[in-house]
Amino acid sequence: MAKLVIKNLVKRFGKTTAVSNLNLNIKEGELVVLLGPSGCGKTTTLRCIAGLETPDEGEIWIGDTLVNDMSPKDRDVAMVFQTYALYPHMTIYDNLAFPLKMGKVPRREIDVKVKKVAQMLGIGELLDRKPTQLSGGQQQRVALGAAMVREPKVFLMDEPLSNIDAKLRVHMRAEIKKLQKDLGVTTIYVTHDQIEAMTMADRVALIIEGTLQQHGSPSDIYNHPANTFVGTFVGSPPMNLIECSLIEMNGLLSLEFGGFVYKLNKNIVGITEKKAGGSELVLGIRPEDLTLHLNQVEGSYEGKVSIIESLGRESVAYVGVGADILKIFVPKTLGFSVKVGDKVWVSFDEDKVHIFDKKFGKILI
């Protein structure tokens, strides 16, 4: 168990920069999720930590050791691959024993460790089988076991659940989280699935196009996104973004969009005024922080329902307000009385409004 520090990591492949100037501080025993869309550099970062890729610039510290020049096996990290990477010609027992065998651990000790891990993961019965005889979920556990058996300082997991069907995935998420807490091993978990990230992580590092966007707890990321990328990546349906201009009306600072005016809450007026670099801003608000009314209510904006998506437990309405289309949850109470084409009114929850600057998408409030 060790802390991990990444300083100014840069990794290029030919002309593309996969990871650019990444700085990350990971505490001992925490589960950090590297989250981001495909190709954003999170797997590359993981592989640099593992030692499978060599950084072009920057430093990687595991504990108190600079590991840049160390081979994977000397770094004392273990990795779980998306494809599990189980050796097809070896039994499960041998798969689990292999890393220990390579580490020249005596046979008796290997046996003890393998059996212990197998029991922990509930795969004790499968030790004589070969990987192809196992189900996806079982293979996944073996992959985990092969990493655990080494008792490393750091676990690296590269989208371990993406090849599992949805139902099992929910179950495995909880199991991995519990396992990690029990073992207390520092874990870095890569995924593009934001739900996985939000449910499992102690902290999330959101990476887009090789750059770290935000590093914080799931609720931080969700409730205080650092920029529009973060705001729209996490949360489903994604945050609504409304382009607006900062204007002064009746002596009050307001945001104007599509013919509507949003009066800035007095709490944030001052900050907005100070931080706004220009007058072009973006207002962000999550679907669940919008309220749908069938009648005009004070402070609400008129709109027309263009699409309704029924998600079973709830519905999402796409309401055209001004030039924008806002996604908004249809409350159960209104239920079926909202139809496509209806005229409705939308109001904002003041406390949940985010304001970003338009140029860089950075949060102001």
Binding site: R47, A50, G51, L52, S71, P72, K73, V77, A78, M79, F81, Q82, T83, Y84, A85, Y87, P88, H89, F98, P99, M102, G103, A146, R150
Partner: protein, 289 residues
Amino acid sequence: MNERDISQATVRNLIKRIAGIVRRTWVHIFLLTLGFVVLMPFLWMITTSLKPLELMRVPPHLIPTHFYWQNYAIALESAPFGRYYLNTIIVTIGIVVGQLFLSSLAGYAFARLRFPGRNILFLVLLSTLMIPIYITLIPSYLIIRGFGLVNTYLGLILPFLVSAFGIFLFRQYYIGFPKDLEDKALMDGCSRLQIWRHIFLPLSKPAFATLGIFAFLFAWNSFLWPLIVTTDPDMWTIQIGLAMFSGRYGTQWTYLMAGTTISIIPAIAIFIILQKYYIKHLALSARLG
């Protein structure tokens, strides 16, 4: 459509199907006959080898009335076929094992390791496949002679210890391996060579079978090289032994055919056992060509 039309249609279909079966049967008959014709020299060889010398010209009965195994004993005695067999077996094993082992190693390097000059080296290797033996024959002989390896097993084996074809084959085979397995092995503490030993090698059985049979046939049927590298009859391989035997007993076919039969049985046996791999490889090359 009334019932008569329907039954007419069914009859027509039936006739078509029967015609099809008849046509196919004729083709089968032709192919089987041709097959018989193609194998006839061997059938003649076997039946002649089992007849007493006096009857060697008489057309064979379909089933020999008497199996004259003595011919084989005589053949084995008069020319030391046993000795030739032994030499050939040793040389063949040496060549096959060498090629399998070294091709797997080199194929792995070309497929999975990054090193300077890899692509150029591989192209050079590939180009050697097109080089006819006649331009390398004399110098190879002189080199072997220079090393004092004439009339030795090593002299017979050494030039063929490595096969560019084999390296190409293994490289193709290994290129398809999932990269994750290697990464995992690296994480597990394997050196590059250990990755080859613990992961690639155990999973190479089909490639071994394929190269194995090609190498075996090449080594077993080899004639020109053993001919010039062995002057001592004790070191002759079975092909040389057979050729010389043919010179001496040219007209005594019964013994000659016995000797020939002995010489081709291992090749045919190995082929029949491993033919799946040989033919699969040919078919694959055909499609890629």
